[in-house]
Structures are given as C-alpha cells and as structure tokens.
Symmetry: C2
Subunit: 229 residues, 2 copies
C-alpha cells in the first residue's frame, strides 16, 4: 500500500478529526479540558499539533505535553482548537507567522474553529474575528475588541457561525460539552458530562471578574505573572 502520507498518519481513524494546537507557553487546562471531552465523542479522533513533534512546555514551565504531529503534517481538521497562554506565550504565538498561517489555513475547511481563553487572540491575529461576536480571558476582553475588531459578547463561550470562542481556561470544558452535542447529539454530550463527573461545586464564588472584584483581579494577575516563565 506504499508509505503513509502525513495526512494519513494524522488520521488513524475515520470520522471527525480534532486538532489541538500546542505552542510554547500554552495553558495546559485550556487544551486538556476540551481534550477530555472531545476524545470520547464517537467516531472522533484528537491529535495534538505543534511546530515540532515532541514535548511542549506550558506557561509555568513545570509541565510538558507531547505534540504528536507537526504543523505541516496536519493540513486539515474538522475541529480546530486553539488554547490560550500567558502574556509572553500568546504574544510569541501571535508573532509566529508559521502558527498564524496554519490556523488561517485550517480554518478554511474546518467545521468548527474554536479557542479557549487567550487563544482567541491568535484567531484574531489570523483575521478570523473581525466583526465576529467572541469572548476570551476576562483580562483580555478589551484587547480582543480594540485590536481585532471582534464584538465582545457575554457567556462562557460564544458561538458565531462556525467559530466558538470560550472564556478563560476552565471555560473550555463547558464549550467542549456544547461542541460534543453538535458533533454527536445531546444525549452523548450529557453522558460525557457524567463521564468526567462534571458536577462542579467551586469552593468560592470568585470565578468571574465581576464576582471577584478589583482586589482579587489584581491578585489573580499577580499570581499568574509570578508563576509564569
């Protein structure tokens, strides 16, 4: 049967393909939250993609996730998921033409193009959010509008055409369950919510900037900066 093409390697199963972009300094939970849901949607396969195959370190530097494919090996996907990062990581990704071009190119043929947290800024850099209702990490909301012409919209995630942008970090889980219902059906998505026992009971009520208030907002940004590499 000859050598497998890179595309064949990236598509071991039939069905829907989910490509999760990894890049230096990405935020682990932005990628892993949605992964944990989408990897169990029937007839769907997930692949991690980065500039190079191999470990990619997160924003804190203390965790590495493995990218199984290089960008040039994955030329199309049904679902593209772009996670966010800390300031330095996301700026570096936005300035990286190879990453931005890949996002723009995949988007042309996706069924769904999605982001979590500041991943929306990378979609914005690729020119995908002009005039599009969207959300991002709470601390980057203004930036999304002023720099990329997105239309700020409320909610844990915002669906606009085939683009779904999620709010910060943990919001990727809510978005992925919503997406699972689109890729399969509502009953499957409900079962996947149980599969990850997602019956959240946060110990505090400080998960949004409005609920947390300005002092905790400042402290959150300081803790993020202190732990960043």
């Amino acid at each position: 049967m000859g050598l497998e093409t890179p595309e064949a390697v990236a598509s071991p199963r039939r069905g829907m393909q989910v490509a999760i972009l990894l890049y230096d300094g990405f935020t682990a939970l932005d990628a892993v939250g949605p992964y944990e849901v989408l990897c169990r949607v029937p007839d769907t396969s997930v692949v991690t993609v980065a500039k190079r195959v191999g470990p990619v370190r997160t924003d804190t530097g203390v965790l590495g996730l493995v990218a199984d494919r290089a960008l040039h090996q994955v030329r199309q996907a049904d679902v593209l998921l772009v996670p966010g990062a800390g300031n330095r990581g996301v700026i570096a990704a936005m300035e990286d033409a190879e990453i931005v071009d890949w996002v723009r190119r995949l988007h042309k043929h996706t069924t769904w193009t999605t982001s979590v947290c500041t991943g929306a800024l990378i979609l914005g850099t690729a020119g995908l959010l002009r005039g599009v209702p969207a959300t991002t990490y709470w601390a980057s909301r203004t930036y999304l509008e002023t720099t990329f012409g997105a239309l700020p919209a409320p909610g844990r995630f915002v669906e606009s055409g085939k683009i779904i942008t999620a709010a910060g970090v943990s919001a990727g889980v809510d978005m992925a369950l919503h997406l699972a219902a689109k890729l399969a059906d509502e009953r499957t998505a409900q079962a996947l919510q149980l599969a990850i026992e997602y019956d959240p009971q946060p110990p505090f009520d400080t998960g949004s900037p409005e609920k947390a208030g300005p002092d905790l907002q400042q402290l959150a940004l300081k803790l993020l900066e202190d732990a960043a590499v």
Copy 2:
C-alpha cells in the same frame, strides 16, 4: 558545591513541593485540573513523577504528558497527588509494587496526600484508606468500600486527616482550590479561582450519576470503554 542530589534536582525552589504521579493510562484532566491551580500557589512547586522520565500516555492513548522525574528521584513531597485512570490503567498501577510502594513511602511524610477519581483505589491499595472517609469516581464507589475498607462519603472531595480524595475527573479542580486555601490562604485560593476563570456553567445537569440516571450511566461507561486503549 558538588553534584546535585536527585532530591535537590526535584526541588528547584524552596517552599512546598507538590508531586503529581503519572502512570500509563492515567486520565489527563485528573492531573492537569489540580496542576493548573496548585502551580500558582505562592512558594509552591509542582513536579510530575513517573516510573521513568519522559512521556506517559493517557487512558485514550491520544495524549502524552511528560514526567520530569522518576519515582526514585522524588523521595518526599509536601503534597502527593494521585490521578485516576480507566479500568486497565488503574488495575495495572494497583498491581505495580514500585508505584504502590512509592505512594506508601511518600505518604509517611506528606502534609497532604490526595487523589482524584480512581486514584483513590491506588491509595487504597497502599493501605491508606482503611476506615477512612473517602470518595472516588462514581462508578467505583462500591469498590472503594468493599475492597479497601474505606468509608464512603458524599461530596466533590472528602478531607479526612491529611488525606483528601476527590470524586471523578473534573472534581480535582474543586479539591485543588480547597487545598490552595490550606497551603496559602482563602484569598489566594479565591484569586486562583478567578485566574482559571472557574465560573462553571455546564450545558447540562448530568454531572453526577444521581442526576444523570441509569441510562446515561450506561452510556457514559460505554463511551469511556470505547475510547480506552
């Protein structure tokens, strides 16, 4: 100053050390949810530990996380976190004396010994849960009692002495925020909840077996099995 000892290598910063065990077939979100919170607790460092340094594949086989230390390099930690796995992964870990002995040995000197999901079964195998109120993944609750003599307790996580066991997968995030308040203080934990924008709005109300009912329970277990390697 001579060569660094393995312990020194595992302790690049002062302060609290969090060791996250990785093993073949673990569930990614069990580890990454708590990591995303604990890595930003001030004066706390997180390290991933496995039998061998390098990539460890998850229960679905489609994601790899990097273990930065081998078990023998990490001889103590202030916080031990044991994630869960699918059936095959957790059984293999329970039957692996090197893993179970390491958990038992670290536990002697931890400040907190914690598990997420079926990670509790590994704590149980190490003999740490006899007569201890504990929880685990919803589908393994009975097993925890009958096999290890734990006392089933309700809640997203159960704290008993220095042992904290969380329910399935996503419950590790709730537990980690609780733990962050213990390691630092409540204000810091509240800010960390904002840092990960954890204001959950699940699209369905099916995150516990009681809410989901028997049909979705069966479907969830089937989806887990179908995606398992």
